[in-house]
Symmetry: C2
Subunit: 148 residues, 2 copies
């Protein structure tokens, strides 16, 4: 069993532990998202899954993604081109790095002194009590850089 499918299994177990059932269609959505290095929209997930489950409905994708998000297993990705896509949730204090050419998503560790001190500084200057932050980087991945 490779690392990819173990993530899918873990998500399915998590769903079941929360009273949700492991159905075939749900399994397809979970595997698609768990194995993807790209953020996928409900429609994209639907099209990928439909190659295996002809009868699958787009609604099922929406409902499954909703549950995965609720359990913190996937997260919505915000991009200039739109905010409908989802990807595996970052673990801990990680953030996203997105390739503008191929869409590949990489996680990086954002829990560091630099961020901490910036937030402390902003907190003092603004009077806000800072509770959370969104940090996302955009660029070109190594592959796409080479192809130029």
């Amino acid at each position: 069993m490779n690392q990819k499918s173990s993530k899918a299994h873990e998500w399915l177990r998590n769903l079941q532990a929360n009273g949700y059932r492991a159905t075939n269609t749900r399994r397809a959505v979970v595997e698609t998202l768990a194995n993807s290095q790209h953020a996928l929209s409900p429609l994209e997930i639907y099209e990928i899954c439909r190659s295996q489950h002809k009868r699958m409905g787009l609604v099922t994708v929406y409902r499954t993604v909703e549950k995965l998000e609720e359990l913190g297993l996937v997260q919505r990705v915000h991009q200039p081109s739109g905010c409908q896509a989802f990807i595996s949730a970052a673990e801990g204090h990680q953030h996203l790095l997105i390739c503008q050419s191929c869409g590949k998503v990489t996680f990086f560790n954002g829990e560091n002194e630099a961020m901490e001190s910036l937030m402390k500084k902003v907190s003092l200057q603004s009077g806000y009590q800072i509770e959370s932050h969104w940090l996302q980087l955009f660029g070109q991945c190594a592959n796409c850089r080479d192809q130029t």
Copy 2:
């Protein structure tokens, strides 16, 4: 003339300089957005403007906001609750700090060594060439903290 309305005038001048006309309805949208400390959705802008221009259509708001965004005068704000709202564009390397209670938006300067070194580090580790970053903080503003 206060600072608020001068921003609205500046935007109108900018629109005219780019071949767009300064109409009454457009003026209303511009003033609403230029004077707001909160991110507003097209529908919210529409409802505010309609108190003065009964005949105004929601479409006009969409079309005006589109032009303001195109000229870099306003920017879209992404939030957990949705991504339809707009606010004055940040000037230079500034980022948003949003109050989770009242929605007030404050800008802070994000152009600093901390961010630079973080991006350099991530670039080395990931192999990505980083082109832009998106940072946003969420918290409680001074007013909302006091009211607890």
